[in-house]
């Protein structure tokens, strides 16, 4: 097979870095509102009927949305094997906590309304809350740790040694990032409830969502400031080989203040990303105040897109820096799959992504419209 040489290794690596971003953003803008609705459930919806309305706004779609996460995991495994190997084993207990929370979610949606008892339903409501709140927080904490560098190093067999602890992950900067990602998801969930729910649930969704949107603006600004003041970035000091073998140990790296801002200094157009982050959140805030539902949801998506892109762009070409052995850091140029695998996966993505987007759009169109109490009551047996 020589077809794969149509695209050179460097280009494929950049494309897969972009696709990784697409998948993470795809997850955050679709499953993100499911997480947000979960985290808002006990507060935005107070009676059993209100909760059923809230749950049924995401009932038919959360399952498809979650595949963005599953596909993201699969794509990291296939396209960035060392990243998959180091991050999942390094964050072992944190990953388990996220996993446990995510396991509760599908079951919670499906099983909650299968029995009438208040205790049963309340129990599942808390399970759904945990299933939304915990992943939303921990994903942000993980990004916060990635920005600071993670304590791992490779032996020369490429066996990854990890020297951190679970509680080491919970440092102030990482928690700040966790709160930012939680606010993002709550804003997004609020925007969704405002669009799809009705009555008091939609109103509370707007109320909590607009507070979260303001929190996003403040925390994003604080995060940028803290990154500038307290967090060192990383820079490759050896000659950068963009199409060499995927072996992180072949380069040298230094840790230095301000390195995470170097890309923005070199390419000011990249500032569009943080601008989207702020403007989207402000737009969502104003949209919720003015009850412009579609505009709110789109702004909220824009904000999520902007914030995640900001992180990716400021770290480029780093993906996961190592704090204890900087040369072990994973970068776009030395932690990808082989040329052939990246090409085959790209063909798969180019063929199937449009098909996925087409049928997902169709499903959302079929399900268009608000969920209200009448709808839940008249379909009590079939809906959640």
């Amino acid at each position: 097979m020589i077809l794969h040489e149509l695209l050179d290794y460097t280009t494929l690596r950049i494309l897969w870095w972009g696709l990784l971003g697409v998948l993470l953003i795809g997850f955050a803008v679709t499953d993100g509102f499911d997480l947000g609705v979960g985290a808002l459930l006990p507060f935005a919806a107070r009676t059993d009927m209100e909760r059923r309305v809230a749950i049924n706004t995401i009932g038919p779609v959360w399952e498809g949305n979650q595949v963005w996460l599953i596909l993201g995991g699969g794509a990291i495994f296939a396209a960035w094997p060392p990243l998959y190997a180091v991050s999942f084993s390094g964050f072992y207990l944190a990953m388990f906590v996220v996993l446990a929370a995510l396991i509760l979610r599908p079951v919670g949606f499906k099983y909650r309304s299968k029995r009438p008892e208040a205790r049963w339903r309340n129990g599942w409501d808390w399970a759904l809350f945990i299933g939304g709140f915990v992943p939303a927080l921990i994903f942000g904490v993980a990004v916060g740790n990635a920005l600071q560098g993670v304590p791992f190093r490779f032996e020369d067999t490429m066996f990854a040694r990890y020297e951190g602890s679970f509680f080491g992950l919970l440092n102030p900067f990482a928690l700040l990032c966790g709160l930012l990602s939680l606010s993002m998801m709550v804003m997004h969930g609020g925007a969704w409830l405002s669009l799809k729910a009705s009555g008091p649930v939609a109103a509370r969704g707007r109320a909590y969502g607009s507070i979260a949107a303001l929190a996003v603006v403040v925390l994003f600004a604080l995060g940028g400031l803290a990154l500038w003041l307290f967090v060192d970035g990383y820079r490759i000091t050896s000659q950068v080989v963009t199409d060499g073998p995927s072996n992180p140990l072949l380069k040298s790296v230094v840790r230095e203040g301000g390195a995470w801002f170097a890309n923005y200094a070199a390419h000011p157009w990249m500032l569009v990303a943080p601008a989207f982050g702020f403007l989207g959140a402000l737009g969502a805030f104003l949209g919720m105040r003015g009850q412009r539902e579609v505009l709110t949801l789109l702004s909220s998506k824009l904000s999520v897109f902007g914030i995640i892109s900001t992180v990716g762009l400021s770290m480029f070409p780093f993906i996961l820096p190592s704090s204890i052995d900087p040369r072990s850091s994973l970068t776009v140029w030395d932690s990808s799959s082989s040329h052939l695998t990246l090409f085959i996966m790209l063909v798969g993505a180019v063929v199937f992504m449009p098909i996925i987007l087409a049928y997902t759009t169709w499903v959302y169109r079929v399900l268009w419209g608000k969920v209200d109490e009448t709808m839940v009551r008249s379909n009590s047996e079939t809906v959640y």
Binding site: G74, T341, M345
Partner: protein, 532 residues
């Protein structure tokens, strides 16, 4: 079992994978059954078939979410507990997993919501297409997962790259059309269909015994008997033994399953009964049925199946070649970017395929080049999996497979004669047979995976070398976590399943049997629960 990270990680993986596979086969099979039922509804327009689709769909839903939830664990776990594995083969193994997401799971998960919520929002044909999309998605999903698993058994289309210290893909088509993977897919999908058939058959039999939902139960049984008979035949006849000759360790697995220590003249007999003895290296009190194994496994009369002792001799040669590869690899790595002598790279190329065999010596010596002859011989014997457990689980699986054919065949005959309710005792057999296909499926996975030991990827990487840098406490904590969460969820799931079965379909069409929803007096069924 030693309490080390390798054993604990293996235990956790086995536990979570076997648990995951309690839900997967029913999803695989029932999605197809639903699609068949709905197709009958759309083509005939008879409301009862819609009711059947919705009723079995409710049970499908209760099962489906746990399949999804526990599937997340599988995806996370490779990275969490098997990080060196993920690094070493992610270039090949990750691709089918990602393609599964792109091609199969998105389809399944996006349409499954519409299956439940779309009855009033879609045209009949639109909904039927949705149901088929779910069935296609779940079956494609199994195909990709089994391509990944088949590669662990027969790692084709890949080569070791000394610069990155990992296996890299050389031929994608070889990975996709791996004969072991193809055999596994047919066998595993068939097993899933058998599970679904027995589930539908057993629950319907219970309704007939209780005199409830007769119309729904009889039609469901007819579908299940035909579907189940075809699936049982396919699962047994197209068993994945056909893949067992593809590679040396697959041959070892086959020899272990048969308790066949010495190479037998072709066609080899099938050991129907016996007590394999790992220490004495023989199978006591063996009762042989001539020719059967040779015929099933090789599909010929004259292909010899090697016995364990001969395969061990072969493994010893492989280890010696692996040491040469290991030695050359150290020279290549020491050379760095400077030129490697041609003789060294030729030695490496010639022996690279056996590199994994050198790692088998790590158990006895840090540097495989320092191994003594005794250690090499010991490592060669390590390639023999535990024969006893494999021998027995395989026989349980095969025995059950024969029973599945007989039972579904009987019901197929009865349904053709329209005498499904003629023999109540047979209906009871169907009820109590519900768990058996699951037993057979779990036995099958045990044979496939336990039989692959000591390898995680045959001939490429020993299981003991594949783990993450974790402490015992960490793994023990997650094992306890999984045990708690999974036990609670299993209890809840069973409760809801039984509740939904007892409650039966939520509405009955006016025809064809008006009285079918009325419980027979004194049948001892709990009153239907109030609508929620």
């Amino acid at each position: 079992m030693e309490l080390d990270v390798v054993s604990l990680s293996r235990f956790q993986f086995a536990m979570t994978a076997l648990y995951h596979f309690l839900f997967v086969p029913l999803t695989l099979g029932l999605s197809v059954v639903l699609a068949i039922m709905e197709t009958v509804y759309v083509t005939t327009g008879r409301a009862i078939w819609r009711q059947m689709t919705q009723f079995w769909g409710t049970l499908f839903g209760i099962n489906f979410v746990l399949g999804v939830a526990t599937g997340l664990t599988m995806e996370f776990q490779f990275g969490m507990n098997w990080s060196y594995y993920s690094h070493y083969v992610g270039d090949i193994f990750g691709a089918p997993l990602a393609l599964e997401g792109l091609m199969a799971f998105f389809l399944e998960a996006t349409f499954v919501g519409l299956f439940f919520f779309g009855w009033d929002k879609l045209s009949k044909l639109g909904h039927l297409a949705t149901t088929w999309a779910v069935a296609a998605g779940s079956n494609f999903s199994a195909l990709w997962i089994l391509i990944a698993n088949g590669w662990m058994q027969n790692p084709v289309g890949a080569a070791f790259n000394p610069q990155t210290m990992r296996m890299e893909m050389t031929d994608f088509w070889e990975v996709i059309f791996n004969p072991v993977a193809q055999a596994k897919f047919v066998h595993t999908a068939s097993a899933g269909y058998v599970c679904a058939a027995f589930f539908v058959l057993g629950v319907s039999a219970w309704y007939l015994l209780k005199g409830r939902h007769i119309a729904l139960a009889k039609r469901s049984m007819t579908v299940a008997a035909a579907f189940g008979l075809a699936a049982s035949l396919s699962a047994v006849v197209l068993g994945d033994e056909s893949g067992y000759l593809a590679t040396e360790h697959q041959k070892m697995k086959l020899a272990a399953i048969e308790g066949m220590w010495e190479t037998e003249p072709a066609p080899a007999p099938f050991t129907a009964f016996g007590f394999p003895d790992q220490e004495a290296r023989e199978t006591h009190y063996a009762i042989h049925i001539p020719f059967v194994t040779g015929l099933i496994a090789t599909r010929t009369l004259n292909t010899e199946i090697p016995g364990i002792v001969d395969l061990v001799k072969l493994a010893e040669e492989r280890i010696r070649e692996g040491i040469k590869a290991y030695d050359a690899l150290q020279a290549i790595r020491a050379a760095g970017s400077s030129q490697v002598p041609q003789a060294v790279s030729e030695t490496f190329e010639a022996n690279a395929r056996q590199l994994g065999y050198a790692y088998l010596l790590r158990r006895y010596v840090d540097d495989p080049r320092q191994a003594t002859d005794a250690q090499i011989s010991q490592a060669a014997w390590d390639t023999v999996p535990q024969v006893g457990p494999l021998f027995w689980t395989f026989r349980i699986m095969v025995g059950l497979g024969v029973f599945f054919i007989l039972l579904t065949g009987t019901f197929f005959y009865l349904s053709a004669r329209r005498r499904l309710d003629a023999h109540p005792w047979l209906l009871w057999v169907a009820v109590f047979a519900i768990p058996l296909p699951w037993v057979a499926s779990e036995c099958g996975w045990f044979v496939a995976e336990f039989g692959r030991q000591p390898w995680i990827i045959e001939g490429v990487l020993p299981t003991a070398a594949a783990v993450s840098d974790l402490g015992i406490t960490q793994v023990l904590l997650t094992i306890m976590g999984f045990v708690v969460i999974y036990t609670v969820l299993a209890i809840i799931e069973m409760g809801l399943m039984l509740k939904a079965i007892r409650k039966g379909p939520t509405f009955e069409p006016a025809n064809p049997r008006p009285s079918s929803n009325v419980p027979q007096p004194g049948a001892g069924i709990p009153a239907p629960l109030p609508a929620e």
